[in-house]
Symmetry: C2
Subunit: 138 residues, 2 copies
Amino acid sequence: MRKNRRSFLKKLVAGTTAAGFLPFAKNASAAEVKLKGALVHHVFFWLKEPNNEGHLKQLVKALNDLLKVETIKMSHIGFPAGTESRDVVDHSYSVSYMVMFDNQAGQDAYQVHPLHVKFVKENSYLWERVVVYDSVDQ
Amino acid sequence: MRKNRRSFLKKLVAGTTAAGFLPFAKNASAAEVKLKGALVHHVFFWLKEPNNEGHLKQLVKALNDLLKVETIKMSHIGFPAGTESRDVVDHSYSVSYMVMFDNQAGQDAYQVHPLHVKFVKENSYLWERVVVYDSVDQ
C-alpha cells in the first residue's frame, strides 16, 4: 500500500501513462488526478519591495534554478490570480512556489541541499516574510 | 502559446504520456514535471475544535465529495507534515485542500457550483479560520 502511494509521482514523471494511476473511471466527473503519497511544500514570499520588478525577476529566476534539486517531482511557480476579492483570499504575496516530493525524506534532503542553501543565502534579503505549508496525505 | 500552456493539465489528465509535456530531457536533473497554465487554488482550514476527530472526518469527507466539480483537474488533500519546526513553517492548520484548474474560468465556475455552495453551507460551522491562495503562472 505504502509502495503504491509513494510511487504515484515517480511513475507519473517517468512518462508512463497517467491513466493507470487514476483512482476512478476515465469518464467519471470526479477530479481527474487525485495526488496520493505526495508531500506538498507550498511557500509564499512577500517581497520587501513588491513593486521592484528587478527583485521579482531575481526571485523567480532563483526559484526556477532551485527546481534542479533532484527530489522535486512536480512544481508550480505562480503569482496572485485575479480571482474575486473575498475576505478569506490572500492576494497580498508576491510569489507562490509549490513543489511536491514523494515523501518527507525528499523534503528533508531538499532543505539541506547545497542549491537550497545557496538560494536562501543569495536571495533572502529580497523578502520581508515567508510562509511555508508542508502537507501530506495519509 | 496560450493554447499550449492551457492544455497541459487537460492532456495530462486525459491519460496521455506525460513525457511529451516535460520542458526538458527525461534524464535532466531539473524538476520532473513543471506545471504550466494552471491555476492553483490552495485552501487551509483551521477547525474550531482541532482535536475533534468527528469534525475532522466530516471535513475531509466533504472535501473529497467536492472534488466532483468538473473543472478540478488535479487535487491533493493533506494534513500538516512532520517536517522540521522552523519559524517560517505553519503547522497549525487542520486540513490542506489544494485543487488545480486549467484557468481562472475553471476556478470561477467552481466558486458558484452547487456542490461548492452546498459544501460551504453544510460545513462552515466546523472551522474558525480559512485562508485561500490562488496562484497562476504567467
